[in-house]
Symmetry: C2
Subunit: 314 residues, 2 copies
Amino acid sequence: MVNSSAEAFAPATVANLGVGFDILGLALSEPGDVVRVEPLEQTGAHILDIQGDGGKLPRESHKNTACVAANSVLELLGSSHGVGIHLEKRLPLASGLGSSAASAVAAAVAVNALFGTPLSLIELLPACLDGEAAVSGYHADNVAPCLFGGITLSAGVSAEQIYPIPIPDRLHLSLVTPDVEVPTATARAVLPHSVTLRQMVAQTAAVARVMNALYRGDIEALGAAMEADGVVEPARAHLMPLLKEVRTAAKQNGAFGLVISGAGPTLLAVCDEEVTAQKIASAMQMVYNDAGIACIARHARVASSGARILHVTS
Amino acid sequence: MVNSSAEAFAPATVANLGVGFDILGLALSEPGDVVRVEPLEQTGAHILDIQGDGGKLPRESHKNTACVAANSVLELLGSSHGVGIHLEKRLPLASGLGSSAASAVAAAVAVNALFGTPLSLIELLPACLDGEAAVSGYHADNVAPCLFGGITLSAGVSAEQIYPIPIPDRLHLSLVTPDVEVPTATARAVLPHSVTLRQMVAQTAAVARVMNALYRGDIEALGAAMEADGVVEPARAHLMPLLKEVRTAAKQNGAFGLVISGAGPTLLAVCDEEVTAQKIASAMQMVYNDAGIACIARHARVASSGARILHVTS
């Protein structure tokens, strides 16, 4: 271990982009989780403290996503050193913004930095996936954009199955996170086990339209294609309070489409100007506030880079 | 009616491109069907003669794809004139090269030309789909590339749901059509009625990879992604004689992927050089010939334009 402390940031991410269930995702520039790590006498990775989680996250090494990822990095490095983790949760839990992926990725990047950054981001991928798997399955749809940034297609969990997709210049995002919890496990449980061949064809067509729109930078077509989801949103819609009303408000204010971010309850709207994104965020916030539901609304852009080292003390 | 005769060509097409079942397709420059039309005393469209079909195609107006398309164009034009059709089939029937679409499209374009070309290609689309529907369902996956050329994404059957996709510069094709018939109805009947959610996700991922590879012009990635079909090829493989052996031969000669063209039995291989495409075509032909199965093998490129008027006599 070459450093005495290292701190890393990993961003919030939006998985699925509507119809791209389990395969598409994007990174936001803010918010994100921050993990600081330091050497520990005891072997293995251990949580020293967590701030911002309201006491809800598990502290046990094998259950905490940051800790699992940190342990996997130690294993990758063949290190028998111990690492203490300070996790600063800036992402709301179970909100559809890739909270567990952000903690796992920030921890992996921080531990790597503690050792002088011997591993590349690509080499850290399996460790991040291990961390994510501790809470929500071995999926790359949040982890990939969190680690690498940008918009990613995750056709599998190995680095060569993850493809960066161009970020349209004019893509602006609005997000609203109502103060309701939708646990990922619940959101998965309501999904159908099978779909008709016709539904599959429609879903592949819509995903192809999303890809086409991203490459062409056509935000209007992108919004329409993201929404053309005949499988996942219909199954989950009832878990998302005021989905229909928020969609209407977003569109009345210039959104080209609105989808559930990840497993929800955060909703994501897309548009093509910053001022429009601000307006949409306000309009979405008002829908929840009028119904007496607290929420956080923000406008954002896709972050072209993902996790990063914030500080290293040698 | 302003002309006394009009002749049009419509190209062979490859639907599906493997994993893009019912949504992706491309046009070949050759071969194609040729339709010549002329005014007739009798109202409506009527087959006068068909060459090259071995007597297999129906001559009845409501069953013949060219005739149905021609009648739909007459209807679009609000014309009570009669039209006689000479159809020169250059495409093998039920071969997976879009034979019915080519006849329908050539007939529609020819009838339109007989009237002085009042309708655009886009306006002819519904008539071509009517023709295709007479034999193999109301699908645009062959009709769209046949009419417009290039590589198309058909997310539906209206013109605004059909998207042109870039043709990679280095894309070369090899095709082999063994002398066995696989009727589209049979090839459809063997498909599963439903797929698991996991299969759907894998299929959407593979289609997204195809789109990504087409936009990036990455032929190697394209071939791999086209083949990543966990639903349609597994169900149809047993209808395609020597599929595995032809795939092996194609790959040994430089193909990046081999898929069933449309509903088969034509097989399509992709590679990145003309000389390689020639070699692959020869190798595929040899596999069938060694097994005593006659076949036609060819190398080809994607045609950037589709149907065209050949001659008009005023």
